[in-house]
Symmetry: C2
Subunit: 357 residues, 2 copies
């Protein structure tokens, strides 16, 4: 199989590595930055470096457009132009509808979005196994040529991912909720806090603030593009969230304790069903360990859990104030693992408790 990758960053490079070793493909790479293709070639992520999109695409059976979000339309247009009638063209961008609107009618384009990788990382982070087990959305439509869609779906599976067909509009709505909205919240949160703190640092803020604010202001150029490309879904999501907050404000002012407790319980239930559906050992259980936040402690604990075969599914550090001490929350799957984690931590001489949620 002849695969072309246009844009060889983390995603493009990883596709190249996996396509070569798992699909036995010959991979041609193109990047507007020639040094990036050269680097990709030295890493074994591409066989050949093409000097132009035309050169990259002319013989390809699959073209993957993996450039930055704001360049994708242009890349896909060039790829469709330069590739043959039996070549499938796809992309890996995080917004899908604008591409589908423009290109789906051609039948050879099917948008894609692997949920893996980090945008701001270059080809040096590329790995053959980046997509193992990852969801990879594909957006076929009525006009899509079946044989080409089939080829793409198999290709994505061979790379290690789990392909899932989704309508472009539904994809963008889902991303607006689960990915874009948290970024808006983070920005609102730091804006509100900056107003409250009058410019001073808030070293003593709690873990809920740190967790929610972590993505505030992430990668301005990339995010400005995402806001623009998925504008109406993100704006609709922001409006809906705002309406919900207004309702909450009303309920809180009304002071109906039962309603507030019920609402909190419903959120707990929603959180569990959203995040813990697939865990083998059962719902996440939080084990909180009170420790000095010194370099060695976390290692010691993680090592002990590793030896006891307890996998840490998620974790959060809760440093207090000067970070001289704090808590580590370890989320493990199911009560059995939680009990083993408690034993391990106790053996190390730390206090730990299972936190009821």
């Amino acid at each position: 199989m002849r695969v072309s990758v246009l844009g060889v960053g983390l995603i493009g490079g990883s596709i190249g590595l996996a396509a070569k070793s798992r699909a036995d493909a010959s991979v041609t790479g193109f990047d507007s930055d020639p040094a990036a293709v050269a680097h990709a070639r030295s890493l074994g992520a591409v066989d050949d470096a093409a000097a132009s999109v035309e050169q990259a695409c002319s013989e390809a059976e699959i073209v993957v457009c993996a450039g930055p979000v704001d360049r994708l339309e242009e890349l896909v247009a060039a790829a469709l132009e330069a590739s043959g009638d039996e070549c499938a063209v796809t992309d890996v961008g995080s917004v899908k509808r604008h591409l589908a609107d423009r290109f789906a009618a051609q039948g050879r384009f099917v948008g894609g979005h692997p949920l893996a990788g980090i945008e701001s990382v270059g080809v040096q982070g590329a790995r053959e196994d980046l997509f193992d087990g990852a969801r990879w959305f594909l957006t076929p439509e009525g006009e899509t040529e079946g044989v080409l869609y089939d080829r793409l779906q198999r290709f994505v599976s061979v790379l290690g991912a789990r392909p899932q067909a989704i309508e472009p509009a539904e994809h963008d709505r889902l991303m607006a909720t689960v990915s874009h909205l948290p970024h808006l919240f983070a920005n609102v949160l730091v804006g509100r806090a900056a107003g409250s703190s009058q410019g001073e640092a808030l070293p003593e803020v709690g873990p809920s603030f740190r967790d929610a604010a972590r993505v505030a202001g992430e990668n301005p150029a990339l995010w400005a593009d995402i806001y623009l490309r998925n504008a109406d879904e993100i704006a609709a999501e922001a409006d809906a969230a705002a309406d919900r907050l207004k309702e909450m404000a009303k309920a809180i002012r009304a002071g109906d304790r039962d309603a507030l407790e019920q609402w909190q319980e419903q959120a707990a239930q929603q959180r569990r069903s959203l995040l813990e559906g697939d865990l083998v050992g059962g719902p996440l259980v939080e084990v909180r360990v009170l420790v000095r936040n010194s370099p060695g402690v976390m290692a010691e604990i993680a090592l002990a859990l590793g030896k006891a075969r307890v996998n840490i599914e998620d974790m959060a550090l809760y440093p207090v104030s000067d970070m001289s001490s704090g808590a580590i929350s370890l989320f493990v799957s199911g009560d059995e693992d939680a009990e083993r984690a408690l034993e391990c931590v106790a053996e190390l001489g730390h206090e730990a408790i299972k936190v009821s949620r």
Copy 2:
């Protein structure tokens, strides 16, 4: 010094331990659950177990009310009633104004709020050093007796905390922003996502969702009380956040790329000044390591960083889909530590990059 602690959970028990060993105090404990006081006594957190609030307070110089939020008004009233004219009464609740409104006029009550500890943890987690370096808000007012305030402030310092005077209303406003609002956001987020996903699990959601949703539905009974006690500030905060989201929706719909990028940059700046003001080594730098999320890897990395004297200030796990692989984000203080972290991780054979934010 004779100190009484009413309510011996994590906070009350830790106050007892620290007061005994650092202030050489004799500590009397009371709890509506007699087993909790007995446990506290067996842990050395109190010298004597009192059978009633009256018995606990009659000889005290300082009474600390450390019961649950919804019991505090009642406890403070009983403590003021039962204690002598020269006894200072304080509390450790996370909402301050309603107590100040009712009790500050008496001059012997000064509200308090240590930013340490976790509500749902019992006395078994108590530690002498829980408050080391932690901010401890105190809310003196015009009527406060100077000598009693001075006693409380010294006491809090001896426990290891950093006392800071703040007006009750300002305290509650600050908490509404930095602590209560993130909880509202988390609840809205899981509610929106539950609507989008139609009840299915979202194992593939990104790290921004996981981080922001972590506190959704936390401890319904406790949070219902917090919403009620700080109702107007939280409702005002929710309304203000809603207004900001509506503005954002408008800006996103307007599609002014420069404005959106600028807004993202402002959020990044606000995040930095809020969270990184006090870090010795400089602003947080994110080092992202691409790894298998197997039990041993995190330990190995943490251990290597520990040996290289690189402290991990914050971290986040970014598991993908089935959690078979993912990324660990390590936040370290300053570029120097980041470079050392990169070296350590490279020596272990993992790919790592410094993420530009």
